[in-house]
């Protein structure tokens, strides 16, 4: 193994695993990794699997190559990290900084904090209430959806982070709770569009980014990744649909007998 390859291949493998974990498309991952490798005088080939990524780095000068494999942790969509990592790749390409500077910037990007959970809960609840309005819901239904979404989203976050519950079970439970709360329109005769409130109460759980990434991977001819992402998104959709179904059965909504 060529020792001179150790920095770029280790760094590039970590970089690829991180950016994929944050929900980057395969085409962006490939371009960014190859851009950084090219800036360091290497050529990189990348194999992306559903749960792993292999990076093969070849020294352009002597032709020696090194390969590293990294496991991709569970997806956690973070476009801020993707943006910062893409910018880092361009900085490497344009300015050729030293290895220590690249590593320092990489660590700072990876350790950056997310938007506060209370802000995310508030914005998500507002978003879902707006969704209700877009589907023709009245203001009473919007208020019901606002509360149901805030409760469901808070519960999902706690189930995943504090209780370490499986994401699919958390989506099922959050969907069920949100749907039950949004049945207030039916139970207490609040508003004129209780059906819209019930329909929109679980839409914040739809894994839209995963579906879009699957379509992007499909166009980029990364069929295995596309199918994997599509199945993952499909399972989450089934979980939230099952939660809605369970809530409707419990609350006897849509049943005549």
């Amino acid at each position: 193994m060529n020792e001179g390859n150790v920095f770029p291949v280790d760094f590039l493998a970590d970089y690829a695993a991180t950016i994929l974990r944050c929900g980057a498309t395969t085409v962006r991952t490939e371009k960014n990794v190859q851009r950084i490798a090219g800036a360091c005088g290497y050529h990189a080939e990348i194999n992306i699997y559903p749960r792993h990524v292999d990076v093969n780095v070849t020294n352009v000068g002597n032709g020696k190559n090194t390969t590293r494999s990294r496991a991709i942790p569970d997806w956690e969509i973070n476009f801020s990290t993707i943006t910062a990592l893409s910018r880092l790749s361009w900085r490497c390409h344009d300015r050729h900084p030293k290895q220590e500077i690249i590593m320092r910037q990489y660590r700072r990007i990876v350790n950056a904090r997310r938007i506060s959970s209370s802000a995310v809960i508030s914005l998500t609840a507002l978003a879902n209430a707006s969704f209700c309005r877009l589907f023709g819901g009245d203001y009473a239904s919007m208020a019901i959806v606002l509360v149901a979404t805030a409760c469901g989203f808070y519960m999902k976050g706690n189930l995943c982070s504090k209780w370490k519950l499986d994401a699919r079970a958390a989506i099922f439970m959050a969907g069920c709770v949100s749907a039950i709360l949004s049945c207030a329109g039916y139970v207490f005769n609040i508003g004129k569009t209780p059906d819209v409130a019930l329909a929109t109460s679980v839409l914040y759980l739809v894994p839209g980014i995963h579906y879009l990434n699957a379509a992007s991977d499909l166009i980029n001819r990364h069929y295995i990744c596309a199918i994997c992402r599509f199945i993952h998104a499909g399972i989450m959709t089934i979980c939230l649909s099952t939660g809605l179904y369970a809530a409707m059965t419990i609350m006897r909504i849509g049943l005549t007998h």
Binding site: G23, T25, V27, R28, K31, I77, N78, F79, S80, T81, I82, T83, S86, R87, W90, D94, R114, I115, A119, V120, L123, T124, A125, L126, A127, N128, S130, F131, R133, L134, F135, D195, V196, L198, A199, T200, L203, Y204, V206, G208, I209, Y211, L212, A214, A215, S216, I219, N220, S241, L244, Y245, M248, T249, G254, L255, T256, H257
Partner: protein
């Protein structure tokens, strides 16, 4: 008051005011749609932790896309399927210059901006019809529920597929610009 208005007769002025009122009443639902779509996109963007400056782009793209869909469905009586495709293409195309301007990846804004166009009511009706299918009922009601479920499920799936294609194709078509936005 503009000079040409002052020179017009009283009837002309009244006609103009009526035309403005008519245009306002037509545009009001579209403006309302754009406003709520923008709020929805910002909320979904926060779940995906988009960069702070991308929130503006996200709101603008969602308003443009959803406004296009509402306009096409209301004015031209185009079906929701083709109107959603047009809306998603508008989001995909506009995301390229907006991402270059805000120095963020196109997908960080266009993906959350697309989510307010999810056909949620079709998905709900599918689940509702499925629930009613599981109940013991006469054959004609069962067939009606099956048809409702198939129709809504099919429309929902086609809309989502076309939206995915509509927003992704422009990013690949203008890849030189979309992948160098963060430079």
């Amino acid at each position: 008051m503009p000079v040409y208005w002052a020179l017009c007769s009283h009837d002309d002025n009244e006609n103009r005011i009526n035309t403005l009122k008519y245009t306002f009443y037509i545009m009001l639902p579209i403006i309302e749609d754009c406003f709520f779509a923008a709020i929805a996109a910002v909320g979904f963007g926060s779940i995906s932790n988009i960069p702070t400056r991308a929130f503006y782009g996200c709101a603008f793209l969602a308003a443009a896309g959803h406004g296009t869909r509402t306009l096409l469905m209301g004015m031209s009586c185009i079906s929701i399927i083709w109107a959603s495709l047009a809306g998603s293409i508008v989001i995909g195309l506009l995301s390229i210059p907006v991402s270059s301007h805000l120095k963020t990846p196109a997908e960080s804004m266009s993906y959350p901006a697309l989510l307010p166009m999810i056909p949620g009511m079709y998905a709900y009706r599918t689940i509702n019809a499925l629930l009613q299918c599981t109940e013991p009922s006469p054959d004609n009601i069962l067939i009606h529920n099956l048809c409702t479920m198939s129709y809504n499920g099919l429309v929902c799936t086609i809309i989502i597929l076309l939206m995915l294609i509509g927003v992704t194709i422009p990013i690949f078509f203008f890849d030189k610009y979309s992948f160098s936005a963060t430079r």
